[in-house]
Structures are given as C-alpha cells and as structure tokens.
C-alpha cells in the first residue's frame, strides 16, 4: 500500500486556488523531490498535506496508508506520522527549544534524541527561545531535529537547503539519508537543487509550475535538464516540445 496518495488535490489560500488537481503517490522509504520556480505553490502543497490552517482543501483527497486524512487537523496527522520542516518557522519568545523537544519526546518517545541533537549541532541552543535570533542554518537544522523527534513515516522538508552554508547542507543531506534508512519517506521541496546532488537516492522528481504538477520523472531524467535550462525551457524539452540533451 502506498504511504501517501494525493488524488487530484486542489488547495486554496484565502479563497484563491493555488494548487490545481495535484496527484502524487509516495511509497514507503521513497525520496521525492518537488521543484519549481518561486511562487509555484510548493510550500502551499506541503502545508496542505500537513493540514496547516492557512490552507484549505478545495478539491480532491489526501490518503495516508489508505486512510483519508483530508479533513483531519494537523496534530492528528502528526500523530499518524506526517511531519513538516517549515521553510520559515515562527520565532516563539519565551518557549525554549528544550521545552518543545521534551514535550515531543514524551509524545513520540526517543531513544537517540541526544545523539540526534549533537549530530545536527542543535544541542548548544536547547536553552534558547525557539528560533529567536537563530541563523538560517540553525533554523533548518532545528526544524530537521524536531521532525526527526516525531519519528515520522513521512517527512516533508520545505527548502532545507535555502539560506544555509555548505556544511549545513551536508549535515541536512546526511539527515535525510538517515531518515530514509529508518524507513521514512521524504518529500523534499527545493528550487535550487543544491541538496539533490548530495543525496544517494532520489526516486522521483516532480515539477510544480503555477500550481500544477506538470511533469514527474526520474532524477536522472529531470534534474540535468532543469539545472541546465531552468523550469520553463526544461519542461518544453522534457515534454518533447523542445530540444533533447544527451545524459
């Protein structure tokens, strides 16, 4: 059974349709990459799968292991194994990272959380207010740490490689590998592709343009074209409307 199925999912934000009939099937332990230009709806798609309140489903269904979760609140989805590393998590004054992490460990259990914290270099800011004054890399690593504490079946990572240094990208890539090795499926949103080069395995790449998944293919097929020609011209090439390139 597929871990996640999106069936013609349409997503609205403040009454406006941002995602149009997106379909996707993610099997256990697969790594999917969603790429697209700025404003194409990548974050909205992940928010809708997570069930964040700034989005509403205006068509289609979301199935997790065959169960319709379309109308479940986000905390129920989290308990079922859906997690999201937010692109821009909110700065929460007064709430320490340690407090949130401890509460999550109580909820989800964790045998290696301190190792995780050390690996992701977040152990030094456990006593800091959540995301307040964090650098870009600190925010991304903390988000990944919190995602990993959830022991998710599905980890959705929203641009974990944007605004971070090379060391952090390596660390994040290793964490994604670690997630996958634990049986977690990953949906990785990126629009620069820096992280894709560091992953040993990617199962599918989806191109999301103007709210539609316009192309799905293997990484060997899609990534070189997009990296070289960009999204629009790359799409023309992939769909046979433009020139082909040799791999």
């Amino acid at each position: 059974m597929a871990l996640l199925e999106l069936e013609k999912l349409s997503v609205c934000v403040e009454g406006k349709r941002i995602i149009e009939e997106a379909s996707m099937v993610v099997e256990p332990s697969e790594v999917h990459v969603v790429m697209g230009p700025n404003g194409s709806g990548k974050s909205t798609l992940l928010s809708a799968i997570m069930g964040l309140k700034n989005t509403s489903i205006c068509g289609g269904r979301i199935l997790l292991e065959g169960r319709d979760i379309t109308s479940l609140p986000s905390y129920e989805r989290a308990k079922l194994g859906v997690s999201l590393a937010h692109q821009q998590p909110p700065e929460i004054k007064g709430v320490k990272l340690r407090e949130v992490a401890s509460a999550m460990i109580k909820k989800y259990g964790c045998s290696d959380c301190m190792i995780l914290a050390k690996t992701l270099l977040v152990d030094n800011f456990m006593n800091r207010d959540l995301f307040v004054g964090f650098s870009g890399g600190e925010k991304k690593r903390t988000e990944l740490f919190l995602v990993m504490l959830q022991k998710p079946k599905l980890a959705m990572l929203d641009e974990p490689d944007s605004g971070v240094d090379v060391e952090s990208i390596d660390l994040i890539a290793r964490s994604i590998e670690s997630l996958r090795s634990r049986g977690t499926s990953v949906i990785l949103v990126t629009h620069i592709g820096a992280i894709t080069e560091r992953l040993s395995r990617i199962d599918k790449v989806h191109l999301l343009i103007q709210g539609r998944i316009v192309y799905t293919g293997s990484p060997d097929e899609v990534l070189p074209v997009v990296m070289k020609f960009g999204y629009r011209k790359g799409l023309e090439i992939l769909t046979g409307k433009g020139e082909r390139i040799e791999h």
Partner: protein, 400 residues
C-alpha cells in the same frame, strides 16, 4: 503617630481598586502560639502556592500566628523568624522599624490593619554578612469563610547579608469569601540582597489589599517576583521601592486573571540617588470576564539612574480586559528611562506551528502561554524551580 488621623483614614478609600466595606467581615482575635501541628486548613492551602507544609517557618491562619520548629532551626545563623507581635514585645529593632515605611493613615486598609490587626504577621531579621542557606518559607491562609485577615510583615536584611523569602497566600478549598490585608515593610541594608517571591491563590469572593514599601540602601538589591493565578473578587496593590545610591530593584509580576475578578496590580520604583536602577516587568494573561490594570511607574530623582518598564498582556477571551499603564518620570537630566507595553492575542501562526508538531490546540496554547510568562528573573535556582512548577500550573489554568 496621630491616632485620630489614622481613625479618620478608616473612611478613606484607596485611589485604585473597588472599595471594600470591611465591616461586613468578621475579625478573629489575634493569637500567637507555637505550632505543634500545622493547621489543617493551612496544610491543604500551602500546595496551591507551591509550598510544602513541613518546610514552613511561619504560618498564619486567619489571625493565629504560629511559630514553627523550622524557624527555630534558623536561629543558629542568628536569623530571627517570629510573629511580629512577639518581635514588637521583645526586639527593639522591630519597634524601630514597624510602621516606618507604610503610613497607617494611607487608606482604610492600612488604618484598619494598624488599629485592629493585632500585629500578627512575620518579623524576619538577617544579621550582617549572613547568607541564609535556605529559603525562608511562610504561608498565610484564610481558613474560615467571611473572615478578614490582617498581616503585618517586617523584614530587615542587614548589611551584606542575603536572604530568599517565599510567601504563599492562599485559602483551602471551601472558603469562598474574605478579605486579606497584608502590610509589608522590607529593609535591605547596604550591599544586602533580598529576593521576595510571593504567590497568591485565592477564590472568587476574596478581596486582597497588600500594602508594601521597600527601602533599599546603597548597593543593595531587591528582587520581587509576584505570581497570582486564581480567581479573586478583587486585588489591588501598588508596592513602592525606594532605591539609594547604586541600589537595584527587579520587580516582576505574573498575573493570570479569570472569572469576573478585578486585578489592579502595580509597582513603583523611586530612583533616589545616582547609580540606582530598576526594572518593572509584568506579564498578564486575562481570560473569562476579568479586568486587569497593570500599572508600573519609575521615577528618577537623580541623574545617572536607569529604569525600564515592560508590560505585556495576552487576552484569552473576548470579554476580558487589560489596561496597561506605564509611567516614567524624570526629574534630572542624565536619567535613562524607557517603557514597552503591548497587548495582543496568542499568534495563530505559533499555534499552527506547534499543532504541526503534534500538540493539540489547547496544548499549543498552554505551551505559548507558559512561554509568554517566562521571565529571566534573577532568582536563585531552587526558587526558580518552584516558580516554574507554579507557572506550569498557571499556564494550564490560563487556557482552562
């Protein structure tokens, strides 16, 4: 002291807070005795304010002031903890300090405490250069209905000494109405430090009128950490701290209001001499139909002084009310005073974020309210731990 002036003040309402007719409440006879066992009413009220009955050094149930064995244990350090009435009989220093900072004619509550209070309450003296190794725990409880409780507390921390005082004021379950009038006169001598943590847990029908004045001498430090989280009919307090040269004050109030209670809570710092500094911080979480007036005032009488006020409020109900009233007054060039005040709702984005981590909406709100109340106050770790436990309870209470 002019008695007729004080008698006249029995009719004088306080400038803030609802006026209370004290004649409606019964006053028990003031008694001082040695506690063989902690009064059961106090024992059941103490945990509501984070106190363990066995650690209490002074206990007051209504107008009964009780010595405890724990207080005697501190005498080996020269520290005195005893009922004020007893202290006034035996200790000249207590007589010298009593009613020196608080004017009995200030309002009807101070006048009634002076004339009818029977001088129960605690007297604490810490000798010079003595660092009291354990917090001094005291508990004042109203254990019968429709009763008025007066307490007159006098604390003197002598030069270069340090003490941590924790006072809980509470009622056991079942007591619904009453009045608590607490007079506190605190002296922090040269280079001494006093940390005073006070937790209030009352009930819907209780009126509370603390009257506190603190004098901090040169180089001294006073930290006040006040938490109130229960329903109350009304509470009105406006402690005043006078700071001499290079003296410091940190006054923090955490107010979780509920039901139809009126919470009029302020703090005033007077920077009397150069180098004095004060921070007045408050966090208000208002729910139900409660009304909160968060007042804070810093007045600089000299240059090279510094003061900051921070009043932040969270409205958890459309029918609750918060009014934040910061006042800064400078009478000399070279004083640096600032204030920051903000009232808002819990940010929906923060709730959504935590929900995406698996927290229910109520759990997320409790985490955020708890975080909102986190203040990095300079209090000792042992007391911080206790306060944290109380704030955990406050956060749960605040979101219902």
């Amino acid at each position: 002291m002019n008695t007729s002036e004080i008698e006249k003040a029995l009719e004088k309402p306080a400038p803030y807070g609802p006026d209370i007719d004290l004649s409606k409440y019964k006053l028990e006879e003031a008694v001082v005795e040695e506690a063989r066992d902690i009064d059961p009413g106090v024992a059941s009220a103490a945990p509501r304010v984070g106190l363990e009955a066995g650690k209490l050094m002074y206990v007051q149930a209504n107008e009964r002031a009780l010595y405890t064995a724990m207080a005697k244990a501190l005498s080996k350090y020269g520290v005195l903890v005893l009922p004020t009435r007893e202290a006034l009989e035996k200790i000249p220093k207590a007589r010298e300090l009593s009613w020196r900072l608080v004017n009995p004619a200030r309002d009807k509550y101070t006048a009634a405490a002076y004339l009818y209070g029977g001088e129960v309450g605690y007297f604490i003296y810490v000798p010079p250069r003595t660092k009291v190794p354990v917090p001094v725990y005291t508990c004042l409880a109203i254990t019968t209905n429709n009763t008025i409780q007066f307490a007159h507390n006098v604390v003197y921390v002598d030069e270069e000494a340090e003490a941590n005082l924790v006072t809980g004021c509470a009622i056991p379950h079942g007591v619904k109405e009453g009045v608590h009038v607490g007079i506190s006169e605190f002296y922090v001598a040269r280079n001494a430090k006093l940390t005073f943590t006070m937790v209030h847990a009352w009930a819907d029908g209780l009126h509370v009128r603390p009257r506190t004045v603190v004098k901090v001498e040169e180089g001294g430090e006073y930290v006040n950490y006040y938490v109130t989280y229960s329903p109350v009919a009304s509470i009105q307090t406006y402690p005043v701290v006078y700071l001499e040269k290079n003296a410091k004050a940190y006054l923090a109030s955490i107010i979780a209001s509920s039901k139809t209670g009126v919470y009029d809570i302020g703090a005033s710092s007077i920077l009397e001499e150069p180098g004095a500094s004060a921070e007045n911080i408050s966090r208000v979480v208002a729910r139900d139909e409660s009304s909160v007036y968060a007042r804070a005032e810093i007045e600089a009488l000299e240059s090279n002084t510094k003061g900051h006020i921070e009043c932040l409020g969270l409205l958890l109900s459309p029918r609750a009310f918060i009014s934040s009233i910061p006042i800064i007054t400078s009478r000399k060039q070279g004083a640096v005073l600032s204030h920051e005040a903000a009232i808002g709702l819990i940010a929906q984005r923060e709730i959504d974020y935590l929900m995406s981590r698996g927290f229910t909406e109520d759990e997320a709100k409790a985490v955020l309210v708890r975080g909102f109340m986190n203040i990095d106050a300079p209090i000792p770790p042992t007391i911080k731990k206790q306060v944290d436990q109380i704030l955990d309870m406050v956060a749960k209470h605040a979101v219902g």
